[in-house]
Symmetry: C2
Subunit: 219 residues, 2 copies
DNA sequence: CTGGTTTGGTACTGGTGAGTACCAGATTCG
DNA sequence: CGAATCTGGTACTCACCAGTACCAAACCAG
């Protein structure tokens, strides 16, 4: 750290001299740095020193911007949820035919969630959720729980049309969610296998949707 | 901490006076305490002070018994793996008929892995695996990877007998693993729902096995 | 009983990190 | 321009923790 130690010391900040940031800009910069570092260091929340070193600003910025470490943690989780959740469920057209909907949903889950970025983000979320039931609940409701609700509704409609036969559409929806993830999420999260190729993705979601639809085909 | 501060000080240890433990006994006690604490504190590895306070002994016992914190961590992970993995796969009879085998496997996964204890243990493993690719790899190979190999073999035999039809038995095995877990593991790990009742377990594994077998039924 | 060996207990060291205080520039506004 | 305000930076305090050193007591062999 090339820093001039003039006792009692004001800075020097070598060359830089970048203009000072306003409250919101600094907040955003800190949040971005926290996100990057939590991925790089594979940790739920990096140290304040590390965040400041990357983002600039000072401890003060964190306390005025987030109210402390816990506040920053909350904001970080919110930020991550906002990044990974919408792509999973928001572009689903509930009125398309069942195979199309299921294929679409499975593809979202496999390609977005199991990409390098998706795994990084979801691991941070998981680590944090393990440690805090409250945050886990919030995240689940916005993400997986929301997806379950959506899919259950879709399956109920399909059952009403006679396209599938099942006792409990919520159970079936849970089955599909698991089927779509297969063993892949575990393998990816544990870094057992590298990111999936397009071919592998299509093979898996094809198999999953086939099994599910054949499995629930009315007799 | 009621301790007599006689400078340079030896103990007093109040009443206790329990006999001194040998190397192996102390090692086992430390390991047990570490396991309990990691569950209680929801942390990958508790602090040495906390472990010692519960197990007795001293820092010395940890260094002679495990070679330090990392060694204790390794031993703890080993201990946990040994507790949760065998019940999942070891009592599977590969020669039973397919539905029986699949039901048995699914029941193991759902009842053992999603019990209170199973979730606690698997969360510790996951937290540690997130942080250490090497440990993740070891654990995966012994656990889920082993299960995948087993099931893939079973499915290949069934296909050879003409009981199921599928292009790739490894992909199908991954599908089944996901199907058996469904959305339940996530819900349990995030503490969204309480432990499952027998009824819920049977409903889920029944649905999962039905979907899978119908889904792969030869045309 | 005696003397070496092993275990238990404590203190010390060095490092890290959160939270707070405060100073010195920078910015803004009158 | 000059004063009030805010941001950036540093230092300080306090707590926690791993690792090491060392002392005292328990244990064990002869």
């Amino acid at each position: 750290m090339p820093r001039d130690e003039q006792a009692g010391g004001r800075p020097g900040k070598a060359a830089a001299k970048a203009r000072r940031l306003g409250h919101d800009e600094r907040r955003a910069a800190l949040l971005r740095a926290a996100k990057e570092l939590s991925v790089e260091q594979d940790v739920a929340i990096p140290s304040l020193d590390a965040i400041i070193e990357r983002a600039g600003g000072s401890r003060r910025s964190i306390y005025t911007g987030f109210g402390g470490k816990e506040g920053l943690r909350d904001a970080l989780l919110e930020e991550i949820a906002e990044e990974i959740l919408p792509p999973l469920y928001d572009d689903i057209d509930q009125n398309a035919d069942l195979r199309t909907v299921l294929t679409h949903l499975a593809r979202n889950l496999v390609s977005a969630l199991m990409s390098e970025r998706g795994i990084d983000m979801s691991r941070i979320i998981m680590q944090d959720s393990f440690a805090s039931p409250a945050r886990a609940k919030t995240f689940y409701a916005r993400g997986p729980g929301n997806g379950m609700r959506l899919l259950t509704g879709i399956l109920e409609a399909a059952r009403a049309r006679g396209e599938i036969e099942t006792e409990d559409c919520a159970v079936a929806a849970g089955c599909f969610m698991g089927l779509a993830r297969g063993n892949l999420y575990l393998e990816r999260a544990l870094r057992i296998r590298p990111p999936l190729s397009e071919t592998e993705i299509e093979a898996h979601i094809g198999a999953a949707v086939d099994i599910f639809l054949n499995g629930l085909k009315p007799r």
